[in-house]
């Protein structure tokens, strides 16, 4: 037996830094240029925790399905593994990811459709939302009670065939820091709704307020705030806004004159990426990039642009357009008063010598 065989057999293949558990909330992201192909490997997947990672046991993990249902029930990890599952390739992006940030990752998720889990419970006709609760707990604000991380997702999104309780990422079990043993997954939506370490699914009517989502103060964050003449207009974040980033070269990099391949990724919650354009003059002119297109609407697209610059100083930008015609804005909407959906075309300086 070779050592490779030994470690595949015994599971040492899972010895990754990512597997290490953390006693404090983690905030990790990795340069996108390290990604080979289009899938983000689990050890390069971004992490945004609110509270410290919970230590969960497969033998005792339970997912409760309750609230406005006729037959509340709970299932264990064995049940989850033995239910019909499906795979979805999808981007997750932190809603506060910077315009040129790397808190976005793309993977193939495997799990059980949430609609399938809800079916035997028999949801109330008046049900409008579902609260997803994780096993991680803490205070969201100094004056709020210590509660489990929770998010509220409209029922319609939960019933979408692509919305999962996921237990695998790229054919491996979820790393602990990405929600092991199971997490919610809402492809096309910002990542805060894809609750990690999920342990409770609570069906709610539109008037229900008795859940951790409200009590913890979560309803006061992850909102889009737009200044209007009538005062601020507040709406909940949901679908990922169309965005592209340049993975290579990086900002302020010095390049020798000659031919280079500029490349990056583009994604949108509104539809598959249709085109990406690159500007080397700060947005005055745009040139089409080559895009590895896909009809799969939730995954990101890798794009590249062959560039043969002469010596000089350049300001590079990329701009994506999705299948719905939504295009990345060149600048931040000045009426926005929040810190989310930072999808404008981020400029990057490049010096060629």
């Amino acid at each position: 037996m070779t050592r490779r065989q030994l470690f595949l057999l015994s599971g040492a293949g899972a010895i990754l830094p990512s597997a290490l558990s953390a006693s404090e909330a983690q905030n990790l992201a990795y340069p996108l240029r390290e990604i080979q192909g289009t899938l983000t490997s689990p050890d390069l997947f971004f992490v945004r925790d609110h509270f410290s990672e919970p230590q969960l046991s497969l033998e005792t993990w339970q997912l409760r399905i309750e609230g406005r249902v006729a037959h509340p029930y709970q299932l264990g990890f064995s049940d989850l593994l033995e239910l019909p599952s499906k795979k979805v390739e999808a981007v997750l992006e932190c809603s506060g990811n910077a315009a040129n940030g790397s808190a976005a990752s793309n993977g193939i998720w495997e799990g059980v459709p949430i609609s399938y889990l809800l079916e035997p419970a028999g949801i109330d006709r008046e049900a409008a939302f579902i609260a997803f609760e994780g096993a991680d707990t803490g205070r969201l604000f100094q004056n709020s009670p210590s509660l489990a991380y929770a998010q509220l997702v409209p029922l319609e999104k939960c019933l979408d065939a692509s919305s999962l309780v996921a237990f695998k990422l790229n054919d491996l079990y979820l790393p602990r820091r990405n929600g092991f043993p199971a997490r919610a997954l809402f492809p096309g939506w910002y990542a805060m709704d894809s609750v990690k370490w999920v342990r409770r699914i609570m069906v709610l009517n539109s008037g229900d307020r008795q859940c951790g989502f409200y009590q913890s103060g979560m309803d006061r964050v992850y909102n889009r705030v737009v200044r209007t003449d009538d005062g601020p207009r507040i709406t909940r974040l949901s679908a990922i806004q169309v965005k592209s980033v340049i993975a290579w070269p990086s900002d302020k990099m010095n390049l020798p004159a000659g031919r280079h391949l500029v490349w990056g990724f583009a994604w949108s919650g509104g539809g598959a990426i249709r085109e990406v354009a690159v500007s080397i003059d700060g947005g005055r002119t745009w040139n089409p990039a080559q895009v590895q297109t896909s009809t799969d609407r939730f995954r990101w697209a890798r794009w590249s642009y062959a560039w043969n610059p002469s010596p000089g100083d350049y300001v590079m930008m990329s701009r994506a357009t999705d299948s719905q015609g939504s295009q990345q804005p060149v600048q931040r909407d000045k009426t926005r008063k929040d810190i989310y959906e930072l999808n404008w075309c981020a400029p990057l300086q490049c010096n060629v010598r």
Partner: protein, 460 residues
Amino acid sequence: MCARVSGLAAATLFVCATGFGAECPPQALTPQEAATRLKQLDAAAQSEMRQRQYAEAVRDYREASCLAPDSAPVLYGLGVAEAASGDFLAARKSLALADHLQPSNVLPLAMLVRVNFSMGDIESLKATLRDAARRFPTDGSLHAGLAEFLVQNKLFDLALAESLRARTASGGNAGSRMELAVLENTVGAYDDAIRNAVGVERQAGLPEAVRASAAGVAGLSYESTGQREDAIAHLREAIRLDPLQENSYLALAFLFEKAQRYGDAVDILQEGRRKLPRSTALLLPLGSNLVRTEQYQAGIEVLRDLLRQSPDEPDAYLRMADAYRKTDRPKQEAGILRELAQRKADYPMIHLLIARAMLNADPADFPAVLEELSLAEKSAPSDAGVLYLRGKTYAALNRYDESAAVLERAIELNPMDASPYYQLALVYKKLGKVEQARQALGRMLVVKGNGSQPESRGVN
């Protein structure tokens, strides 16, 4: 637990019940004659099964099922015989009917799992497992048996599910607990794996080989949680408990390598070699670590020993080449790489490696280097590394114009590699093109100025 009723089972039962009636000829036997005939058929079918005469067994069980259409044992026997004869569709119907007739018996369900697996019908297999979980939640031996079957057939997700059920149902015996620990370690449930593995490791009444395996799993799980000293302690305990388990030495050496404690890796692998002198698995890491600890000749001898026994081990050739390079023996380096090329002609970039070794010889045989690079270009026509070496070789042969051309192409392919710029600057200087030489050097400094930035991929 989800109380979903299997629609498949109900549909199968319906098809099954109507199917059997249609196949049975009219009966003219008295009840006593029928009972005697049934007994004969059952005995005959069992004997045929033992003799692997499955078609005959199916025939006899089918006749028996006509005489006793409500007999669960007969239908179970029929299902098993049909499965053995390869008629999985019929087997599934017979077993589903047997299960329906005697729902307290676990055997038809267990057999259905096997039949669904043989049919490659994973969704039906999952449905059967859910049915088994719903109806027999406390039958630890059923779930442990299913887990074992699923592990053997590499359905590790479902094996984990059944192992967890077995553990919940009855705590599990040492074997099933070990199996669960291995699966938990594989999926990343390290704390669970440690708890189960250490539980087995500490059971003094168990065979030491079993305890050693448990200690090994505990060691690997501790390593995954970042507790390296605990990991090392458990792997040492594994070796103490069963010094003849090769994997324990390999795993401990691997941990030492990760910690860059190459000397400790050598020590543990040499200890393993003393205990297991016929092991070949220990030789590659031992040889590699001897080279890492600058014990070059000893490393070469161990690797040569490995290649005598197992000549299809590319890493052994490469480690030996590394040892020869570090001891300034380019001819031997090229020689061992040629041996690899003879053994595995399609080994990636082997001719580039040989050419590089040949260039280090003094004096170098430049025409032979160019021949080797031509071979490399056949498998990788646009490789910047090959072009760079070709440019270097042309320069050594004073063919400066050709050298400049291929070095420019190498830069085009990989503009963020500094080496070709430097070589190009030297070539331009030889050609009297001072400004171009200066420009090439300037670009080399630009590339180097980015520190550890990764290389870009050039445009082909």
